[in-house]
Structures are given as structure tokens and as C-alpha cells.
């Protein structure tokens, strides 16, 4: 548990067909690892976005590695829509499981708690239900009146992946107040994490530092990847590289432009590090 390995060994955990959970842009996205995963070309991935994605999801889609996309949104933020996503949707290139943010959280929490489902308010009357036939409507067993409520099934990813500021050499990872990372990791069968650096001292050492820690028990593999979220931001460490995201947004409008962008992406990642 919490073994420290190379980026390549870490990326190898993402096998073809696996259900891969990825966090939102503000939570620490493992972009260096994404390049390493793309190099392995694991196809037919079922990507679960917790609860949304951006450039990471768009890249995996553009590379043709996504078989199913489960997400509440895909967007490049200020840089606009996600071009490879939009194109793939139009072409019906993958199975699309549109969601709504709290339902993704509830599905992961169900897996975290080892229960088959969680109830959630709202949603009824949304067209989401027309295609999310895996969501069911039941009668609230605690109401004598008619009270339909949605239940969403547990989401158990095969692999959860994210980028964090640091891990300690015991395999504990600092997640601060990004608690969805803990939920993702506990819900998943395996969790792989890239970090800016490894601390020699245990992150569990003080009550204060322990409060923001994902314990090693839930961490499968860790790799060091300096500036590993670039061009996305890492909380408390560095901001978004707006120009780079805009450059991606412009180039990825066409398959050719996307290919050209990706061609140099891994190289630029190393340069940025």
C-alpha cells in the first residue's frame, strides 16, 4: 500500500476497459500521469468524472480511449467548450452517461459505505432520467404519502487517479479540504496518485496535518511528478496556465490540430516540470 513507483509503473495500473475516476480541475488533476496513460493506449475506458472534467477528459476522448463517459459536465472553463468531447458526442463515439454533480458524489459515497445505492432529492422530471436508466425512482419508505425519490447505484471505480502536493514515505497523501479525493479513493478498488514531492516525515504526525490526509491504506501507488497538474492548477501550489489551455482549445478544434498538440504534450510536460 502506498508504494512509491515510477510514473510509467503507476500509469500501467490503468488497464483497457477499466473504470477510471478523475477529479474536477480545481481538485488536482494528474496531467503528467495522463500523458503516461495515453502512451499505453488503454482503450474502452469508462471514465467517471468527479463530478466534471476538462482538458484531461477531452484528451482521453480525443485519443479514442474512452468507451463510456460518466460526467456532469465537460468544459475548458474560460477557454470555452471541450472540442474533442463535442465532436465525439456529435459522432456518438462513446456511451454517454450524463449526470448531475450531487448524484456522482452520492454514487461514490454509496461505494465508500459499501451500500448498493443512495437516495437523492431533485432529478425527477429531468431528461437525465430518460437515459440514466440505472437511476431508479422508489417510494420513500418513511412517508405515508406518495413521495417518490431517486436512488442512484454505487459507483465503484477500478482506479481513482489524482495529483496532490505531497505524500509521505509511508504512503499517506495530503488532500487538504478536497474531501472528494478521499471519497473517490475509498470507493475505488485501487488509487494511484502523483505528487509534487515526498515528505520524509509522516503526514499523520500532528493532529493538524492529519486532518487533511488520505491514509496509505487507500493508496495503491504513488509517483513523483513535479508540476504534475500542468497546465491545470494545483491548490496551494500553482495556478492554471491560461494561455496553454487556450492553445489547446484552439488547436483541438480539429482532429489534426489535436494530434499536433498531443504530439508535443508529453515533451512540454517535462519542460514545465
Amino acid at each position: 500500500m502506498g508504494e512509491i513507483v515510477s510514473l510509467e509503473e503507476l500509469a500501467a495500473e490503468v488497464a483497457p476497459g477499466c473504470k477510471l475516476a478523475v477529479p474536477a480541475d480545481y481538485c488536482g488533476v494528474a496531467m503528467s500521469a495522463t500523458a503516461a496513460i495515453i502512451a499505453n493506449r488503454p482503450n474502452n475506458l469508462h471514465v467517471v468524472c468527479v463530478p466534471v472534467t476538462g482538458i484531461q477528459g477531452d484528451m482521453l476522448i480525443g485519443e479514442g480511449l474512452v468507451g463510456t463517459l460518466e460526467t456532469s459536465a465537460v468544459t475548458l472553463g474560460e477557454a470555452g467548450g471541450a472540442p474533442r468531447f463535442q465532436d465525439a458526442v456529435r459522432k456518438g463515439a462513446f456511451k454517454l452517461m450524463d449526470a448531475t454533480c450531487p448524484a456522482v458524489h452520492s454514487g461514490l459515497i454509496a461505494a465508500q459505505k459499501g451500500v448498493p445505492f443512495l437516495p437523492i432529492r431533485g432529478i425527477i422530471g429531468s431528461d437525465l432520467l430518460k437515459t440514466r436508466t440505472d437511476w431508479k425512482t422508489i417510494q420513500n419508505p418513511f412517508s405515508d404519502d406518495e413521495d417518490p425519490i431517486i436512488v442512484v447505484p454505487a459507483i465503484q471505480p477500478d482506479v481513482a487517479i489524482f495529483h496532490a502536493p505531497e505524500a509521505d514515505r509511508f504512503g499517506n497523501v495530503r488532500i487538504g479540504r478536497r474531501r472528494e479525493l478521499l471519497t473517490m479513493a475509498q470507493a475505488a478498488k485501487a488509487t494511484i496518485v502523483t505528487v509534487e514531492r515526498i515528505s520524509e516525515e509522516s503526514l499523520l504526525k500532528t493532529e493538524d496535518s492529519a486532518a487533511g490526509v488520505l491514509p496509505a491504506l487507500y493508496v495503491t501507488k504513488i509517483a513523483v511528478a513535479p508540476r504534475g497538474a500542468w497546465p491545470l492548477p494545483l491548490w496551494g501550489e500553482y495556478g492554471v496556465d491560461t494561455a496553454e489551455i487556450a492553445r489547446y482549445a484552439a488547436m483541438a478544434r480539429t482532429p489534426e490540430g489535436f494530434a499536433a498538440y498531443m504530439d508535443g504534450f508529453a515533451r512540454r510536460l517535462r519542460e514545465a516540470a
Partner: protein, 250 residues
Amino acid sequence: MPGYSNRELIIATIADLLDGIRHVAVGASSPMPAAGAMLLRARNEMAKRERVRISILGSEEHNFFTNGGVELFDCTAQGRVDAFFLGGGQIDGEANINLVGTGDYPQTEVRWPGCFGSAFMYYLVPRVILFREEHSPRVFVPKVDYISAPGVSDGIVRPGGPHAMLTGMALFDFDKQKKRFSLRSVHHGYTAADVRAATGFDYDEPAVVPETKAPSAENLSILRGRVTEELSESYPAFADMLRGERKEAA
């Protein structure tokens, strides 16, 4: 020249629509709602009225949540979020909103990002303000192509829903019983006929449509001073734009 820009009018109107709330959540890329909330917060402070909390989602600085992305939704379900803003690529006359795309789902011709939390927040926040600056028949359609979240619901627990709709041209009320919008006022520079022509769905309209209440001198002063300063922390580009428009309006 009315002495204020259209954006300043919208911001002041948002502050009025939020009057009485204690906690509003706004998106990280929603400077106008944030500005309206900041204006309300500032003027309540000066009048020693109830304190207004503003959660700017995704922000590191203006985020007092500590339980991850789920906290906004839990907090909302607990009844602790009084107001929220929703938009939509399409909005129809029954206040249904579409954040997904146009054409036949799933292979929509135009694809927008997705529903985000709308299929939850729209049901549970007591005061949802529909806000879309662009006022055109492309946005305000007779019937949305995809219902991300419906305007009204029967037979389910739904403490929340649409409170008003604000656009670059006009302000509407929404009647949940009649499932219809009614035009409350048009912004300076527009007529009721302009609004009718730019709206793809039918709605009620009073015999005489008033002009949207102009921001008071005091409100404009707070907005141009303290609020613009506060905005420039989280939305520097937007704050600069406001400053620019102010010069034009002056």
C-alpha cells in the same frame, strides 16, 4: 444616457432580487451574480442589516467550505443556501432549462458542457434566479430540446425553484401555478415590444410595462467603489470591464 451601464443595472437588480437572503452561492465564472451579491452584502453591512455570506464555488480564497465538492449540495439540502443562479443554453416558457445541447440527445448537434448541479439545485434552493444576459429567440425557446431541470414539478418534494428571470433586456416573474413567466420590467433602452420580439415563448405582460428600477446613487457609489474593489480579487478582467463601461456611461 441614464448615468449607469446596462451591467450596473443588472448588478443592482440582482442585489434587489437577493434582498433578505443570508447565504448565496455563485459560480467561479459568474461575475455578475457575484457582483450583485457583493452589493447586497455591502449595503446590508452599512444599514446594519442581516449579514450576507457569499460562497464563490471553486475559489480558494472565497470558499469557506471544508468538506469537498459535495458540501454545496449537502448545505443546500440542509436549507442553508438561500439563493443560487442558473442559466441555460435554452430556457423555455415553463422555466425548463437546457444545459446539454440542441437537437436529438445524445448525439446533439451543439453540445454544451452538461447539467452540472442544476438537476439538484433548481429543486432545492428556495430562490433560484435564472440569469442569462443574451436575450434572443435562440436562448428563449418555446420548448427546450433537453430538460436538464424542469421549472416546476408536481407530486415531489421541491422546496426550491425559479424566483425570477433576469436578462440583458428585462426582468420577469414566474408563476409556479400558471407555469408562466410575466414581464415585470424592461431595462432602460428597451421596450416591451423589443422583449416580445426577442423571446421565443409566450408570457404575460401588464398593460403598462415599467422600466427596471434604476440603481440609486448610493448603490452606484457602493458598486463603483467597494464592490469593484472586491470583484477585482476574484474577477480582475470583469472589474476592469466595469470600470471601462463606467467611463462610457459617465
